[in-house]
């Protein structure tokens, strides 16, 4: 057992006291209570669907931690990257292997200490340190060294040219002395020390959390002074409590969000995202080795019906993992229209003919495969059912399997899977590379979600590599558009749709400064209309 930080010991004793004295606590608290900032109008009361396991920025990026931490680069309006703790955007050298970042000089952490290059070094060393146990370590594998060129200048040396680095610099920077020796045993998991606009005021485990604004944040004083977040896993309860006015907002499934739109001042708010869903077509199954068959399956999938029926229209059909959120890099003409007749022709042409029992066969082998989805994920469940239903009309039998994560990983090689992606959509490389690069074509039980179809295409690999080395944004975007055209000719999987994340909120008109954003796979009250709550102002 690792050593327990002193903080933890202190808290343990104090909470044992709580255990014994609950009755006292209940009776001694005044029942009246002073008006909180939430009631006086300078606060927000939001409902989150799951409690956070950790507030450590190396364990939980791009979520609620963005309220406690800033990255060198932050996500801005419409998903554009903008300087955060960096004074301006990082500048690369000619071959994109050395990146220099000038830091802001006026920044302090919530514990009062100054932000310097040492904190940046510590954070990026920690995230790459195997002993730290950050799940993002491999994403920084191309970083050879991070060095300080002065108190407020940092240099990143990369092992290969990499145009997508700025998106990776969104990592939140904690105070170096609070980092701890691993994400598991660090005090940062529960007690953030960052440069961000808010500090954690209170965390009632299993129930709620309160954030209050800092009065010395480098970008100014947030006018939303307090954010109360309650953890309400049950979606019906969340919706009901929204309807009764208990909350100012929450994330809801499209179906419930649409039902609440317009009820008691509640409004539906959506943000586009790089969060996509797709179905892997593992090429260990003989029928999926044929590109014609993969194309047929793509044509047989009625994406719009899924979007309308399951997402209430809040999604964009996709043909590849690239989404409209990637801006210029997105190729709108790369698409699969729903065409079951053409799909049937392709299958007939490939030798998969219908038999009397309605299932296609070739050389005595039935066209039948298993499709896994995460059992607890209702969206993936619905998509799996709809996909199976579409294919059954084409004469392909799909056996559904609701699985947990371990089972999914173990069977990824020879079972199809409803996959999700878009964990970092702010660069085309981070959006698409792991999904289709042949680097990940061999099945690895420790890395089952990268290229789960076992797809390899020389042209795709070449385009992926070239775009990493291309400094000119226009030319780079062109390479990615070319990539999508190729991915439609030789599809690796069935890309279904990019989600629009749906939220329900009230009282947004009391504030100025709301703006659209592109959300990653991660969602919740740190996103939605509240993603830039720190810069909201009163009209």
């Amino acid at each position: 057992m690792r050593t327990v930080p002193h903080r933890a010991r202190r808290r343990r004793t104090s909470s044992s006291v709580l255990a014994l004295a609950v009755a006292v606590a209940l009776t001694s608290c005044s029942t009246g209570g002073t008006a909180t900032t939430a009631e006086s109008g300078a606060g927000l009361r939001l409902a989150e669907s799951t409690e956070y396991a950790s507030l450590h920025p190396l364990d939980h990026p791009l979520g609620i931690t963005t309220k406690f931490y800033d990255g060198l680069v932050n996500v801005g309006e419409n998903g554009a990257l903008e300087p955060g703790l960096a004074a301006q955007m990082p500048t690369p050298d000619e071959d994109l292997t050395t990146w220099t970042v000038q830091l802001r000089q006026d920044v302090t952490f919530s514990d009062g200490s100054n932000f310097t290059a040492d904190d940046v070094l510590a954070a990026y060393d920690a995230v790459r340190d195997p002993a730290m146990g950050s799940w993002m370590a491999a994403d920084y594998a191309m970083v050879d060294a991070v060095t300080a060129l002065g108190e407020h200048t940092v240099e990143f040396k990369l092992s290969h040219s990499y145009a997508g680095l700025p998106a990776r610099l969104t990592l939140g920077i904690p105070a170096s002395e609070a980092l701890g020796d691993s994400v598991l045993h660090s005090s940062l998991a529960a007690e953030p020390v960052g440069t961000g606009p808010y500090v954690l005021e209170d965390w009632r485990r299993g129930e709620s959390m309160a954030l209050s604004s800092r009065d010395d944040w480098w970008a100014g004083d947030p006018e939303v002074e307090r954010i109360d977040i309650a953890f309400v896993p049950d979606e019906n309860a969340r919706a009901q409590r929204l309807r009764s006015g208990e909350f100012d907002g929450a994330q809801l499934s499209p179906r419930l969000a649409a039902a609440l739109d317009g009820v008691n001042d509640l409004e539906l708010v959506t943000n586009p995202s790089g969060d996509f869903r797709g179905i892997s077509l593992p090429q260990s199954l003989p029928f999926f080795q044929d590109p014609q068959v993969r194309t047929a399956v793509n044509l047989a999938t009625d994406r719009q019906a899924m979007i309308d029926g399951i997402l209430q229209g809040h999604g964009r059909p996709l043909a590849t993992p690239m989404t409209p959120a990637q801006g210029d890099s997105y190729e709108p003409s790369a698409r699969f229209d729903h065409d079951p007749a053409r799909a049937a022709e392709l299958l007939d042409g490939a030798g998969w003919t219908l038999t009397v029992d309605g299932v296609r066969e070739k050389d005595g082998r039935q066209f039948s495969f298993a499709l896994m989805y995460f059992a607890e994920d209702t969206l993936r469940r619905d998509l799996a059912q709809a996909f199976a239903s579409d294919l059954s009309e084409l004469g392909i039998r799909v056996e559904l399997e609701g699985v947990d994560r371990s089972q999914a990983a173990a069977s990824m090689e020879d079972k199809a899977f409803v996959l999700g992606g878009g964990d970092l959509p702010y660069d085309a490389d981070t959006q698409v590379y792991r999904q289709v690069s042949s680097d990940f074509a061999d099945y690895d039980p420790d890395d089952p979600y990268s290229n789960p179809s076992g797809y390899a295409d020389e042209q795709v690999d070449r385009l992926l590599a070239e775009s990493r080395e291309e400094a000119d944004p226009q030319i780079r975007a062109g390479l990615y558009r070319e990539l999508q055209t190729r991915l439609v000719q030789n599809p690796p999987m069935v890309s279904l749709m990019a989600l629009e994340h749906t939220y329900v909120a009230q009282g947004l008109d009391r504030w100025d400064g709301l703006a659209p954003v592109v959300e990653p796979h991660e969602h919740g009250v740190a996103w939605g209309p509240w993603w830039n709550v720190e810069s909201w102002t009163r009209p």
Binding site: R255, A386, G402
Partner: protein
């Protein structure tokens, strides 16, 4: 209050009939489980009467027929999805309405009921088998072994079964077998007690003593005299466990640890129904909830017991 009432109730529950008093030397240990003060026979208002039992039997038979026959007779695929016909209320075409994915709840509920019943019956049967083996072993070996075993059984009884179920089901998620095993492994104790006390009672009877004096071994006695006589009681014990097992399956599935959600079962139908609750699709939760209650109430009514939970 007198101790005689207490004793009668005790033996009624443990044995299902009033047995001869066991010999003092071999008196079974009083069972904690057997201290169930159940409304006695002939009670005028608390016990389901003959009419109620007939009614329960009829409804049960209808439910079983529904679960078995509908999936055979109706060729509508309970897996086929069409979101355009989702969340429709009961109508002649769909007597129980449709769920949000447009699947017919009449056929889907039947499939769900069938899965839940199969899981429950398998679990109950497993529990009775384990319990019979354990009870018979204790009674046959007797002495200190028996005494210790029964203390152990009492202790095991005090473990919250459902919590164990949650733990095991979360380790083996989506596995029907895991649920059946959990029910079997945690519910055999009552049967063990029952079997043991019956065998001890039997042994004190004349014809058994006669058999012993003729040189029958203990194992032969249990096999030829004990188990056949116990058959009816074991069936009742298993029957009483079925509602219990249905609860376990549905609870575990409902909280997301049991069967996968596309697989219809009472638990997964309820889970899906809950999702539709706020959008006003009351039937999608009322149907599976109604089936669950009907099954457990009727089994309990038929077997004359408040559905005893562990």
């Amino acid at each position: 209050m007198n101790s005689e009432t207490l004793r009668t109730h005790t033996t009624l529950t443990a044995g299902g009939r009033a047995p001869d008093a066991p010999p003092p030397a071999r008196r079974p240990l009083p069972s904690r489980q057997s201290r169930q003060f159940r409304p006695s026979r002939g009670a005028h208002d608390a016990t389901p009467g003959r009419a109620v039992r007939i009614l329960c039997a009829t409804v049960l038979a209808a439910l079983v027929a529904y679960a078995v026959l509908v999936p055979i007779l109706f060729t509508v695929d309970p897996f086929l999805v069409d979101y355009r016909t989702g969340a429709q209320g009961p109508s002649p075409a769909h007597p129980f309405g449709t769920d949000v994915a447009g699947r017919d709840l009449f056929s889907r509920s039947a499939a769900g009921l069938r899965v839940s019943l199969i899981a429950a019956i398998a679990g109950a049967a497993g529990a009775v088998v384990i319990g019979t083996a354990a009870g018979a072993t204790c009674a046959m070996v007797g002495g200190r072994f028996d005494r210790w075993c029964m203390r152990g059984v009492d202790t095991l009884n005090a473990v919250p079964h459902l919590l164990l179920g949650i733990v095991v089901a979360s380790f083996f998620r989506g596995s029907l077998l895991a649920i059946v095993m959990v029910v079997a492994v945690t519910h055999w104790t009552q049967t063990a007690r029952l079997v043991r006390s019956e065998i001890l009672t039997l042994r004190a009877q004349d014809h058994v003593r006669a058999a012993v004096s003729q040189g029958f071994t203990r194992l032969q006695l249990v096999r030829h005299l004990g188990l056949p006589l116990l058959g009816g009681q074991l069936a009742v014990a298993a029957g009483l466990l079925v509602p219990h097992a249905v609860w376990h399956e549905s609870t575990l599935t409902f909280i997301g640890l049991g069967l996968p959600p596309h697989q219809p079962s009472l638990g997964s139908l309820l889970q899906l129904g809950q999702e539709a609750l706020l959008s006003g699709a009351w039937w999608s939760i009322a149907v599976p909830a109604g089936l669950l209650v009907l099954v457990t109430v009727c089994l309990a009514g038929l077997l004359r017991s408040p559905a005893g939970r562990s």
